[in-house]
Symmetry: C2
Subunit: 339 residues, 2 copies
């Protein structure tokens, strides 16, 4: 079935897309349907972050199911809220769509939005729906809350702090690589994608999660990281942000980088260096954080964390020590370099 | 001079654009430069609203100076905050730009953003900067604050409430009409635009203001409107929103609609009906609000307000009474209809 968007009109479309929207947070006083939403964060501080996603730049509709796209758009945003040691509470979602979209296609996209909202306890409280001449545009702003002055910036890392990451790295980049490869084969030969045994890395790209559990673990174990950032552009780039804003240096160890076994095997198959994928591959949405050495035991007790190095004086530079024991300067090369 | 955006890189560009960004609100605890901004609204409620603006749909770069575009993008957003009877305090600004933009062009755009922030006491606290394959995309989210439960919804209008508007209507639509006409003439003949004597209506389109003074007047005179909305899509459309969400009807009078003399003269020149322009022309960013009749004196004391009718029971319908005394049903026709 295909329902034309024009059959609903702008306001009808908004009503349609928000008809099953349920409020989960007591702080949500007024939601969709007015000039603005109203939020009550008495006694808590408000965190705000925003992301703009453009078709052809941030996602490829050819291999991104709309439901996954909606889900991931929310995850990318609330991941930034967790990276502040805060809890996301509300989002506003704006989209620009061309006429080629049907109401059913938009429903799929919003199914993904609502699924992420449900999973993370976030309320959708507003947005804007408009036309684009070409391409799908998604803009999401997330609001979160944090106990007064418990938010964690990028700039608080201190000498000797442990550098830690959650989960594993490079998977999303390898997922992207396989999907791009299969897309090219399909365009050239019409052959259907061969994604066998690649479920993990494809899932890392198409259906990432935000690390709410990490922030919960910090709260439960009285850990307040000295600095934190989410890994959306690649570990090197994010760690250099922390070093720059903290005015510090760092040492990390190649053999401590957490890389999933499936990611590693697939990297070898493509003759890519798994370390390069972990350092420069983006979109893993893991958390990179620093803690004082006195928190070592609490961090080591969590299997999901890896301690990959430590913070140094700025004058000592930013270094990675390879498996062979060589020192290299850490540089942010970005995705294109690996390819 | 033309500086390529690629010469700065993404993070360099953000630093460049935000280097002179000053904090105006005590509630702004952490601004640009981290995963998210932090805001402290203890004891006040937070209002949030967002707008997505797409080149070719919402603005035409051919006759919109970039500084004006930046200014207006902020105005369109904070106008929604005022429409909640709230005060805007922070914005986040995301943009997607193609390579054809120079750093100087972006500086002009941000000059407009900062000019609006200065005028309205708003802090720019974050955003996202990305690439587009084609066209300029602007997404702004505004945060505001309001004393607990003093926000004004669209849904509170009561029978016999006075229907009021600030300023005058239809000017922005007529400004758009003249610019579209001159663009067409330029494309066909190369003739330079003839905008003589049209400064008022062109200004209404290109450099609108948000009605902070109206919200200030309400506070100073103990007025709390029963409903309020900003006029971005045209008076008819907005009044129908209030009627629908309040479950009420309305009567307005053609001869009470506030229309500027220059707008009127230009409408006649183009053989357009000034009333249609006032009812269906958008982007005036005036406020439409309802108050109990007991507030009549306070409203009448302000020359900048017009009382254009009153709220009725839903069963009485939504009506406009013409100069000739005829009753018509009020319909939302939108801009295209007038043309």
């Amino acid at each position: 079935m295909r329902t034309e968007i024009t059959s609903l009109g702008e306001f009808g479309l908004i009503e349609h897309l928000t008809q099953n929207n349920e409020i989960k947070n007591a702080s949500t006083i007024l939601s969709v349907g007015d000039d603005a939403a109203v939020i009550d964060h008495f006694g808590r501080q408000t965190v705000i972050t925003t992301d703009l996603l453009i078709e052809g730049i941030h996602f490829d509709m050819m291999y991104t199911p709309l439901k996954h796209l909606g889900y991931k758009s929310v995850i990318a945003n609330i991941s930034d809220v967790y990276a502040m040691n805060a809890t996301p509470t509300q989002i506003v979602v704006s989209i620009a769509i061309s006429n080629k979209f049907s109401v059913e296609a938009l429903d799929e996209f919003y199914d993904g939005i609502y699924a992420a909202c449900d999973k993370y306890g976030v309320d959708l409280v507003g947005g804007d729906t408009t036309t684009s001449q070409r391409g799908f545009v998604i803009s999401i702003t997330a609001i979160g809350e944090v106990a007064p002055d418990k938010y964690v910036k990028r700039s608080g890392a201190q000498t000797n702090d442990l550098i830690c990451v959650s989960g594993d790295l490079g998977g999303a980049f390898l997922g992207l690589t396989i999907l791009e490869r299969e897309k090219k084969i399909f365009e050239e030969t019409g052959a259907q994608p061969d994604l066998e045994n690649q479920a993990y890395i494809v899932g890392r790209l198409l259906k990432p999660e935000a690390r709410k559990d990490v922030v919960d673990y910090f709260a439960a174990h009285d850990i307040v990281p000295t600095s934190m950032i989410d890994i959306s552009d690649g570990l090197s780039s994010e760690l250099l942000h922390i070093c720059k804003q903290s005015e510090m240096g760092c040492v990390i160890y190649e053999d401590k980088l957490p890389i999933n076994e499936e990611s590693k095997q697939f990297a070898y198959k493509l003759e890519l260096d798994p370390t390069a994928c972990a350092l420069s591959g983006g979109e893993d949405y893991e958390l990179l954080f620093t803690v004082p050495v006195t928190d070592h035991e609490k961090i080591a007790a969590n299997n999901g964390f890896s301690i990959i190095g430590y913070i140094t004086e700025a004058a000592d530079g930013k270094q990675i020590i390879t498996r062979g024991g060589n020192k290299h300067e850490l540089v942010a090369q970005g995705w294109n370099h690996i390819k």
